[in-house]
């Protein structure tokens, strides 16, 4: 009888494990524009708006995570004088937008602030995460769990990140901390190929409460490289929280001819609001939509639409200087296939289709940003010139509308291609995209980040303008 009981218990256990599933995202009971993980809910008491600092961390596994960590170290060690106070440049960081490997550093910093400098290396950067994830696949228990259609490899990865890196913290912990930086963890909406950020503004569209979601889940989605890791699925609860769409959205739907990008964004946002048509949203690596993490900040700089609009803050005369540091851990494309007449295999095709276009798109994104900041300066100068002409020919006369708000931009783009030494450049540009790099390579990447920031024109100009020292 006892033997039969044991078999019965084993059968029940197997059934339970076989039906394993990762908890779905929570339903939002009632839409409240003033609560949840939003930029305006994070205090700026220790961080001025007038010097607005944005960091964009690219994808690229541990290589990208270490590169972005090196940038944080450099900003920690830079003292600035601003508005009569001496402070660390790191304490002025307002927004970090990150993708894939870079999202680990961004999320860790947002959660632990300066403690990142105590244990991030031992807990993530210098740990063989790749091996740890592989070991999970050798566990018979996990074989059974993975047999469930609602539990996949990405769920195992999420559990690992949750248990060993992010300590079960959820977005409510970031809301409770109430301090900047505001992090934009970016994934890609698989069916739309568009950017999907882990903010309450985005989750409002699917009537879901981001607060209860583990940070690890967002980072896992952001780094769910196609084929290697399965997508993350969110349930769409749209229609059940009395959501009121923002006013810009209805207006943007009138703009197909004059502002196609804005129109498309509105169409995309509307697509989430129909949970009958889209009951689920599948997310993969954020790098597919934007491997440099710059699209979100760029939108915030150039548009009044959405929860985070730096343009709005500029119009309100809150922002005087904008520092943007783009940390691009891009490496060389693999051209070994070009040396052989045999067609590349399926694995090579998949890896290239998923990575090469991302790098080209990243280049375009940076160019768009550079052109936008130049146009911004040209517009300002054109008005100044006109004011000067008017003053010369009609003393005392003024252009209607007064002076255009002046904003100084300090763009910094760092990447391994900026390294002068050929051998050094080739070493870094041929590092693999992996969650395992030798500790000494990690240290070298951090050192490169320090050097490249120091040498950048944007950094030097900022320090000159602020009369500060590195």
């Amino acid at each position: 009888m006892k033997k039969h009981n044991n078999w019965f218990l084993l059968f029940i256990c197997l059934c339970c494990i076989g039906c394993a599933s990762y908890p779905t995202n929570s339903k939002l009971d009632h839409f409240d524009k003033s609560s949840g993980y939003r930029f305006q809910n994070l205090s700026s008491s220790d961080n001025t708006d007038s010097l607005f600092v944005i960091l964009a961390f690219s994808g690229g596994g541990t290589r990208a995570a270490a590169f972005s960590y090196g940038v944080l170290e450099k900003l920690r060690d830079t003292t600035i004088n601003w508005k009569g106070k001496s402070r660390r440049l790191l304490d002025e960081v307002d927004v970090i937008s990150a993708v894939s490997g870079g999202s680990f550093t961004a999320a860790y910093y947002a959660l632990y602030h300066d403690d990142i400098f105590k244990d991030y290396e031992s807990r993530f950067l210098k740990k063989n995460i790749k091996r740890e994830l592989k070991l999970l696949l050798f566990s018979p228990i996990n074989w059974l769990r993975l047999a469930s259609p609602t539990f996949d490899r990405i769920d195992l990865a999420t559990e690992y990140y949750d248990n060993h890196i992010f300590d079960h913290h959820t977005f409510i912990d970031l809301v409770s901390k109430g301090r900047r930086p505001y992090i934009l963890i970016n994934a890609t909406d698989m069916s739309q190929g568009s950017r999907f950020e882990f903010t309450q503004d985005q989750f409002d569209l699917i009537c879901s409460d981001l607060s209860a979601l583990p940070i690890a889940r967002s980072v896992a989605a952001s780094s769910a490289f196609p084929v290697l890791l399965s997508p993350i699925t969110l349930k769409n609860f749209a229609g059940g929280c009395s959501y009121q769409e923002p006013e810009w959205l209805e207006n943007a739907l009138l703009d197909r001819d004059v502002a196609a990008r804005r129109f498309n964004e509105a169409v995309l946002q509307r697509s989430y609001m129909d949970s009958n048509d889209r009951p689920y949203v599948h997310l993969i690596d954020g790098g597919i939509a934007d491997n440099i993490g710059l699209r979100g900040p760029l939108h915030a700089l150039l548009s009044l639409d959405g929860g985070l609009s730096i343009l709005r803050m500029i119009n309100m005369q809150k922002v005087e200087k904008v520092l943007i540091i783009i940390v691009n851990a891009r490496t060389n494309p693999d051209t070994t296939m070009d040396k052989c007449s045999i067609s590349p295999g399926l694995k090579d095709v998949l890896m290239n289709v998923a990575s090469v276009p991302m790098d080209n798109y990243s280049f375009d994104t940076i160019e768009l940003f550079v052109q936008s900041s130049k146009q911004w300066e040209k517009d300002y100068q054109a008005r100044k010139d006109c004011e000067h002409q008017l003053e010369t020919k009609c003393p005392g006369a003024e252009l209607p509308g007064g002076q255009l708000v002046k904003v100084d931009f300090y763009p910094i783009v760092i990447g391994f291609e900026s390294l002068d030494d050929v051998n050094e450049r080739e070493f870094f540009k041929n590092l693999p995209t992996s969650f395992n790099l030798p500790p000494e390579t990690i240290d070298r990447i951090r050192g490169i980040a320090h050097r490249l920031i120091s040498a950048s024109n944007g950094y030097q100009k900022l320090l000159r303008d602020l009369n500060s020292v590195p």
Binding site: W248, N251, A259, L304, R312, G402
Partner: protein, 70 residues
Amino acid sequence: MEYVIVWFHESRTVLIDGEESGTTNRILRVDEGTHTFRLADPQDYKPTRRRVKVTQTNSVKPMEVTFEKA
């Protein structure tokens, strides 16, 4: 980037698409496209809102949106 001046007889916060986005009688930057302009309380102005398509402006020739005292 497009440019707009919202005229009113006094200085007042301007709401663009429902969000505080600047001040009256000052040149403002907006993104190209259709926007709804309002003023912050009190509701002593007319019309109560203006929806306009902002396009083909520049920093020396902004679009002008005017509200009058009600």
